[in-house]
Symmetry: C2
Amino acid sequence: MHRTKVKVVEEALDANNTIASANRSDFDRAGVKVVNFMSAPGAGKTTLLERVVADLPGVRVGVLEGDVQGSMDADRLASLHVPVTQLNTDPSFGGECHLDANMVRSAIPALPLDEIDLLIIENVGNLVCPAEFRVGEDTRVMVTSVTEGEDKPLKYPLMFRACELVVINKIDLLPHLDFDLDRLLYNIDQVHPDVERIVLSARTGDGLEAWREWLIGVAAHEEAIA
Amino acid sequence: MHRTKVKVVEEALDANNTIASANRSDFDRAGVKVVNFMSAPGAGKTTLLERVVADLPGVRVGVLEGDVQGSMDADRLASLHVPVTQLNTDPSFGGECHLDANMVRSAIPALPLDEIDLLIIENVGNLVCPAEFRVGEDTRVMVTSVTEGEDKPLKYPLMFRACELVVINKIDLLPHLDFDLDRLLYNIDQVHPDVERIVLSARTGDGLEAWREWLIGVAAHEEAIA
């Protein structure tokens, strides 16, 4: 009996990846580099943006704010005169705990892509599902705060594996915590060996220069990173 | 034309609630009170259990540990000679970011219900989806850490609304943070007026007695609370 070999086209069956690729094409065409910015609630994503978005020489930044509801973070950033677009997962998407490619797609018409070089997509605060959904980004960054404990890479490995940069925030609190920074770095290496990392305090400004330079590097990159 | 009124039985169509009710019946029959314990990653749930589970006079505690993967928290608690059962959402359930009633149901045969009075179910660290799924609990508790910022009730209102007690943890760090405790309490009142709250530090022990007494109260309660 003659059997035809069935070719399985896995990627094409994944609707999220299909839409993410379409988003990516739109961003590429506009010459905009895109960062998917993720963390647990309260790790300091918005503060890390407040500290640098208005001060990246040669880089015009826009922000897409993902939240279950409300626009508090967007309001904080808009006061810095950076174009901010709010994307809520509650009214339109049923209170989703993450952004997916289709939600981001729905926001593209509202983004000033011609006026920016770098789009930072602040995802919903969550260490699980955001790592599972590409949204059309060039690169992914996650923030872990030293107040969250050293064990988070081992408990949420997909998130630490999915990103190209780990930002370790709130190091100004180290003297007041029972926290072993070397243990955290060791645990990160267990799940994502040699992933780039920046240790900083958004509050004191310690280490912020490296974060600023990293973002400038993403915007300047000719080829897609990931 | 005669029309028969159609009775819509909404609850019966919700599979999660159906299974949660079955879990609840099993727990009731065994005389076990159940707490669904939730927070963002790193807010201190496991430490809050470590501090009290072996020291609740007259109450035999068991813990069901929910994690995406690994058993680190379960190992920490087992060392206190408390019966701990691990429930991972990764291998069996596809890396879910929350526990649901069916996952808890699958763990019931492994629980020593005859040997405990109070079962504490430590949910996956996440401020969104765990609040959407009843698992058969009598009452729900969430922990928010002061390092997460004052805005969390407004950004994750369902979680703050879903619980009967809000534990505010890590107050030992207040002198080192730009954090306004009154603002957090005000924001909690905006989404869940007058919900019970306990302000404490799992690290220093300040306020732990109220947490211990609250758990003893749940175990002693004759009637179901919620």
